[in-house]
C-alpha cells in the first residue's frame, strides 16, 4: 500500500494536491500559480518525485509521466539546483580518491547524533526517528536510478554497495526494512511516508536533492559524490546513535538498525570513495567537480537539518560546548 497525498503547505501544494486527487489531467491552473519557495515549493517537488517511487493511493499511476507535471517539476528542480550550486565552492587541487576523507572531516557540520548520544530525551529521539523515516524508509533508492548510467567498473562497484544496502539477498537485512522494524518496536507508525506532515523544510530538501541527482543522468557525478559523503559521515555518528538509544532504553530493533550502519558504512565509505567515485572519475574525469558538488550538498544539507533540529530542541549550545571541552581534554 502506498501513502496518501500529504497536507498542503501553501498555494502551490493546495492547487497541485487538489488537482492530483481530482483525477483530472488538466494541470494548467497549477502551472498558473505564481513562483513559490520554502516548504510549499519543496513539498510540491517531493510529491512530484514520489510519483516515480511508490506513488500515492489517491493519485492515478498515469500521472508519473504527465507532461504538465513534468514541466512543473523541471521549474522546481531548476530553482533547487540553482540554490544548491550557489552554496558550493569547488575545492581546488584536490583528488577525490586521495583527499575525500580529509575534506569531509574539514567540512562536516552540526550533528544530531552528538546530541542523541549525550543529552537528548526520549521525545526528541522519537521525533528524530520520525523525521528521518522519510529517507530511511526508502534508503538507497534514490541512487539506484544511477546504475544504468554508469560505465562497467563504476556500475559493478555501485551494485556491490547497494547489494549490502538491500540486505545481501535477505529481505530481513534490507536496511529500510530494519528501520521500519525499529520504528514499530518504538511504537511509531512505520508506513512509508507516514510522518511527512511533520518534517521540516530541510528534510524535504535533503530528499529532493537525492532525487534530483538520481533522476538526472547529467548529475550522476553529483549523485555518487553525495553517496560518498553520506557514507563517510555515517559510521561514527551511527555509533553515537547506538549509545544514545541504549542510554534511553529504546528497543533493540532500532539499536540494531544503527549498529548495522556502524559496520556497513565503514565498508561503504571505502567502496563509495575508492571503488565507485574512483572508477567513475577514471572513466569520466570531467565529472570531478560534480562529485564534489554532490558531496558538499550532502554535508551542507545535513548541517542545516541538524541546526534546525538542535534549535528546535534548544540544544545547540550544549553540543558545541561539550565538543570543545572534549578537544581540550
Amino acid at each position: 500500500m502506498a501513502m496518501q497525498i500529504p497536507q498542503a503547505r501553501g498555494p502551490l501544494t493546495e492547487a497541485l494536491f487538489g488537482a492530483l486527487r481530482s483525477g483530472s489531467d488538466d494541470f494548467y491552473p497549477v502551472l498558473a500559480v505564481g513562483p513559490v519557495e520554502g516548504e510549499d515549493a519543496a513539498l510540491a517537488l517531493w510529491v512530484l518525485y514520489e510519483l516515480h517511487y511508490r506513488g500515492f493511493d489517491d493519485v492515478s499511476d498515469e500521472m508519473e509521466w504527465d507532461p504538465q507535471l513534468l514541466r512543473l517539476r523541471v521549474a522546481l528542480e531548476r530553482d533547487l539546483e540553482q540554490r544548491l550550486r550557489e552554496r558550493f565552492t569547488s575545492p581546488q587541487g584536490l583528488s577525490v580518491v586521495e583527499d575525500f576523507f580529509d575534506w569531509v572531516a574539514e567540512h562536516d557540520g552540526a550533528s544530531v547524533a552528538d546530541h542523541v548520544q549525550r543529552a537528548a530525551d526520549r521525545d526528541q529521539v522519537l521525533e528524530l526517528l520520525r523525521v528521518r523515516s522519510i529517507y530511511h524508509l526508502k534508503e538507497s533508492d534514490p541512487v539506484a536510478w544511477v546504475v544504468p548510467r554508469l560505465g562497467v567498473r563504476a556500475k559493478a562497484a555501485l551494485t556491490e554497495l547497494q547489494y549490502d544496502e538491500y540486505g545481501n539477498g535477505d529481505p530481513n537485512r534490507l536496511h529500510h526494512h530494519l528501520y521500519a522494524r525499529g520504528l514499530e518496536a518504538c511504537g511509531l507508525e512505520a508506513a512509508y511516508g507516514a510522518h511527512l506532515d511533520e518534517v521540516p523544510l530541510e528534510v524535504l530538501e535533503q530528499n529532493n536533492a537525492m532525487s534530483l541527482f538520481g533522476l538526472h543522468r547529467r548529475l550522476r557525478g553529483a549523485a555518487l559524490g553525495h553517496l560518498a559523503a553520506f557514507e563517510a559521515t555515517s559510521s561514527m555518528p551511527s555509533r553515537r546513535m547506538v549509545q544514545g538509544l541504549e542510554r534511553l532504553g529504546l528497543p533493540a530493533e532500532i539499536v540494531e538498525y544503527y549498529a548495522e550502519h556502524v559496520e556497513a558504512d565503514a565498508v561503504h565509505e571505502q567502496l563509495a570513495v575508492r571503488a565507485i567515485c574512483g572508477a567513475l572519475l577514471d572513466e569520466e574525469p570531467e565529472l570531478a567537480d560534480d562529485v564534489w558538488f554532490g558531496a558538499f550538498t550532502c554535508l551542507d544539507l545535513e548541517d542545516r537539518f541538524a541546526r534546525t533540529m538542535l534549535d528546535h530542541w534548544g540544544a545547540d549550545r550544549l553540543g558545541a560546548g561539550e565538543d570543545r571541552r572534549e578537544e581540550v581534554a
Partner: protein, 69 residues
C-alpha cells in the same frame, strides 16, 4: 576491445581498513573466530575499533602517526 579488470579479494585502504571480498573467518589475537556476514567486509587495521575485528571508522579520528599505512 573489452578489457579484463583487476578485482582483488583483499584491498588495503591507505590509512584505513582492509577490505575482504567473500566469505571468511577471521581469528583475532585471543583466538576468537569471527565469520564475515556481508559481501565486502572492512577489517580494522588501526586496532582501535570498538567493533574489532571489524572497522567502525575510528581510524579517521586518529592522528596520522596512529593510522595504518
Amino acid at each position: 576491445m573489452s578489457a579484463a579488470f583487476e578485482h582483488p579479494d583483499v584491498v588495503l585502504c591507505p590509512g584505513g581498513p582492509m577490505l575482504l571480498r567473500g566469505d571468511h573467518v577471521v581469528e583475532d589475537a585471543d583466538g576468537v573466530r569471527h565469520r564475515t556476514t556481508r559481501a565486502v567486509t572492512a577489517v580494522c587495521r588501526c586496532d582501535k575499533s570498538a567493533s574489532f575485528p571489524w572497522c567502525d571508522g575510528t581510524h579517521k579520528v586518529l592522528p596520522d602517526r596512529l593510522r595504518p599505512a
